[in-house]
């Protein structure tokens, strides 16, 4: 009896030690392999592939296939295989015509005339024409329909059919960024016949003009689309079927790519990218995104009401080290208030890493002994890593930061249930933003315009600047790109110097794929495009 009493704990601890040791040795393998493999990822032999269908593993469940009622990037990305809009975005988030051939915008950005491409049919045979466009825009701009994307089109006053292939959209208020809204996934066209037939169930039966037709959607497991043989673009599509499968666990998604059960996966966690790149025929592709990472500073509260303090914090943080620590180096500088990938971006002079200057600015502001503050952020490991990094950097200039990670629902409650600026508890907030329309307006107005403060919108810095506000709204009064560019250049300069944020960086999009797969890529907003998917052996 005595013997056994000791034996079991002994064996257990022995086993634990073995586990820890094996985990450690795995770790050191990782480190040594990291450096050598980046270079030869492209040189490895092409992996084997049977058949002409592909599987794409994604990180979360699909929500809806109704483009007008979708606000998650992933569902929108899956819709892009089946549905198309008048305009779209290319690989670098430049706007390109898709179902429209050309457009004309009035001087005051109130009237838009679209000339449509001729001879296109929806998957159910319904012709694509001006009437179909009208049905779609009327649908999404009607508040009665309770669609999530109503807000992007509530400004539409009327949509008129001019002739079979010409549509005229008139807005209630001038809105210079409207074309981008028409390029957004929310403005994709669904067959009018299907809308009538399925009603609300259209979310489960998408019928569009795209390269692939909807086959089935097992809500708990996968969605399948198949080749549209009548597709209007010559030579496309090149694969027979695409299966989209939500696989929430990072390790499992990677395993699927390793075994070939998946041909394309995203996102690839940055800390595992090096480990899989160049083995088993896997290539990891990282490209700059439009996801800006920043910390908002509550500009109505001491000590952040002083621009010197805000600039000091910007000088105190080593952005290069930030990207290395949090995103394993997969990222780039945020050198304006919007990322480089957005329209009308204009580069500013970066706040270099200079702790001495930071200390000096703090002293000038009367905080030579530093101060104590609190940072809020999400509770995922990236956000926690980021906040702890900030804590360490700011401690070097005498600022003590308390890190408070919160579950996302709780966090948004703490920030957005506050009704007035005086009641706001938030001091520092680690956040991120991706302007899904690709336009500067949606990258600036919700985050930094004076009347965008919570609970109305996302100005968590409670930043108020009349000069900037005037320019932000002036840029919407015209559709003339040059005038808009001038206004946004000025806005970016003003706000950059005012530094309501700590500008940290821009994440990369991370996709993993087998090396026989071509034509599938991630857009800078994190959406995937598989229209041109092709297997090259």
């Amino acid at each position: 009896m005595l013997k056994r009493k000791y034996l079991i704990p002994l064996l257990t601890s022995l086993f634990a030690v073995i586990l820890v040791l094996s985990a450690c040795s795995g770790q050191s393998n990782q480190d040594s392999k990291q450096s050598e493999e980046t270079t030869d990822a492209k040189d490895q032999p092409i992996a084997e592939k049977d058949g002409n269908s592909i599987t794409i593993a994604v990180s979360s469940n699909l929500v809806s296939m109704d483009p007008h009622d979708t606000n998650d990037t992933l569902s929108g990305a899956v819709q892009s295989t089946m549905l198309e809009g008048l305009f779209g975005f290319d690989k670098d988030m430049n706007m390109i015509p898709v179902l429209a051939e050309s457009y004309e915008a009035s001087e005051d950005a109130k009237e838009f005339i679209f000339k449509l491409r001729e001879g296109i049919k929806f998957h159910d045979g319904t012709p694509f024409n001006a009437e179909a466009v009208k049905v779609n825009i009327d649908r999404v701009s009607n508040p009665e329909n309770r669609l999530k994307r109503y807000s992007m089109f509530e400004n539409v006053e009327t949509t008129e059919v001019v002739d079979e292939y010409t549509v005229k959209v008139t807005l209630k208020e001038p809105f210079g960024a409207m074309l981008n809204n028409f390029a957004h996934p929310a403005a994709r066209m669904v067959s009018p016949k299907a809308i009538e037939e399925y009603g609300k169930d259209i979310a489960m039966h998408p019928v569009g003009t795209g390269a692939f037709k909807f086959v089935e959607w097992e809500h708990s497991d996968h969605l399948i689309v198949e080749k549209n043989t009548d597709y209007w673009q010559e030579g496309l599509p090149k694969v027979d079927r695409i299966t989209i499968k939500p696989v929430p666990e990072n390790g499992s998604r990677i395993a699927m790519l390793q075994t070939g059960e998946a041909d394309f996966i995203y996102p690839v966690p940055t800390d595992q990218a090096e480990l899989i790149n160049g083995k088993d025929g896997i290539v990891v592709e990282n490209r700059p995104s439009i996801v800006a990472r920043y910390i908002t500073m509550n500009t109505t509260k001491k000590p952040f009401d002083d621009v010197k303090v805000r600039q000091a914090i910007n000088y105190a943080i080593n952005n290069e080290a930030f990207l290395k620590v949090v995103y394993s180096g997969y990222g780039s500088d945020l050198d304006s208030i919007i990322p480089e990938g957005l329209q009308f971006y204009s580069k500013q002079t970066p706040y270099s890493y200079d702790p001495e200057k930071a200390k000096q600015l703090l002293a000038e502001a009367g905080y030579e002994n530093g101060f104590e503050t609190t940072i809020w952020g999400a509770n995922n490991s990236d956000a926690i890593k980021a906040m702890e990094f900030i804590q360490q950097q700011l401690s070097l200039v005498g600022i003590k930061v308390n890190v408070v990670p919160m579950e996302s629902g709780t966090l948004s409650d703490r920030i957005w249930s506050v009704q007035t600026a005086e009641d706001a508890d938030v001091e520092l907030y680690f956040g991120g933003w991706s302007s899904s329309t690709g336009d500067a307006d949606w990258g600036i107005r919700p985050l930094l315009a004076g009347d965008s403060i919570p609970p109305k919108s996302y100005n968590v810095a409670y930043y108020q600047n009349e000069a900037a506000d005037e320019l932000i709204y002036a840029a919407l009064q015209t559709a003339d790109p040059e005038k808009r560019a001038d206004a946004y250049a000025e806005v970016q300069k003003i706000i950059w110097e005012d530094a309501p944020w700590v500008f940290l960086g821009v994440e990369d999009t991370m996709a993993g794929m087998k090396n026989y797969l071509k034509g599938v890529y991630l857009l800078p907003d994190g959406a995937m495009n598989a229209t041109q998917a092709e297997i090259v052996q």
Binding site: I8, K148, H219, S252, A255, T410
Partner: protein, 305 residues
């Protein structure tokens, strides 16, 4: 016995009513605003308010509870806030995968658990006992996400025997059910061992041996049957837990089950789905407890209600 079962079945109703109130309060009291989450990250304040009205979340909590309950009594579990599909469909889609995974995990866990437990008890303090208990302790101690990922690495990536996830064929049941059943098998083994060791000391066992019964008959027929009561209780509980769907195992193996639905709907504050799932789990537990009670009577005819 029949009267007992009927009585217990009726007893489920008040229990479920109380559970429904608790679940409703609990779900609505978690911080987080479903309207904002449904409206999405770039929705305006007006949109969020519109969504709130649509979901009926602007009404007092009591009104919301009665609306929910009156729907429930008419067999309407509501509509998922996230997908706008009926909650019944969302759960029905995922019930069977979780159910079958539970069954397979339990089947192998019971077989191996009993086997290890009996061997350990009869070969007390011999190498068989140590090996058995070592395996059992490992089964309890290994975190299932770790075990799952290791099995995937070994059997899917390196050897290519089984798929990494999903439930497309019978082969895809093997790895997740091993992962899920490991802990259960270990618990059953330990319970069987200690319970059987006690029974083996009883007088009637000595009598059995004295009158020349074979050791196998003594152990497997006479001793094991009486040693089973605590084991059955434990197994029933474990069965109930597994039926709720394991969040970890279903996530690691991309299993389209109830556990993943639960974690998804909690992070989305999808009230109707969370409520329906929790009520379902409560119901399953009550039902399993009833079955366990009935099993007692079968195993030991002295137990009568």
């Amino acid at each position: 016995m029949f009267r007992f079962i009927v009585k217990r079945l009726f007893g489920i109703i008040p229990t479920l009513l109380i559970v429904s109130i608790l679940v409703f309060l609990f779900v609505h009291m978690i911080p987080g605003d479903p309207a904002r989450l449904v409206a999405g990250p770039d929705a305006s304040y007006e949109d969020v308010e519109l969504v709130r009205q649509d979901l009926g979340l602007d009404k007092p909590l009591v009104t919301q509870y009665f609306t929910y309950m009156s729907g429930l009594f008419q067999g309407d579990l509501g509509t998922s806030m996230k997908t706008k599909r009926p909650v019944f469909d969302e759960i029905a889609d995922r019930f069977m995968p979780t159910f079958w995974l539970t069954i397979w995990s339990m089947v192998w866990a019971i077989i191996f658990g009993l086997l290890i437990g009996v061997i350990s008890a009869t070969k007390r303090n011999k190498w068989q006992d140590y090996t058995g208990m070592f395996t059992a302790v490992s089964g309890i101690s290994l975190p299932s996400f770790w075990l799952g990922l290791m099995l995937i690495q070994l059997f899917s990536v390196q050897l290519g025997w089984f798929p990494t996830g999903g439930n497309d064929s019978w082969t895809s049941y093997i790895l997740p059910s091993i992962t899920l059943g490991a802990g259960v098998a270990a618990v059953i083994a330990r319970f069987t061992r200690s319970s059987l060791m006690d029974i083996l000391r009883e007088d009637y066992i000595r009598t059995g041996r004295a009158k020349g019964l074979k050791e196998n008959i003594v152990v497997w027929k006479h001793a094991l049957k009486n040693a089973m009561i605590p084991v059955v209780t434990m197994t029933g509980l474990q069965f109930g837990f597994l039926l709720g769907g394991s969040i970890v195992v279903e996530t690691v193996f991309s299993w389209p089950g109830l556990g993943r639905l639960l974690i998804d709907s909690v992070s989305y504050r999808d009230y109707p789905v969370i409520q329906a799932e929790l009520l379902l789990f409560a119901f399953e537990f009550i039902l399993i407890n009833l079955i366990v009670d009935v099993l007692y009577g079968i195993m030991n005819p002295q137990i009568r209600y």
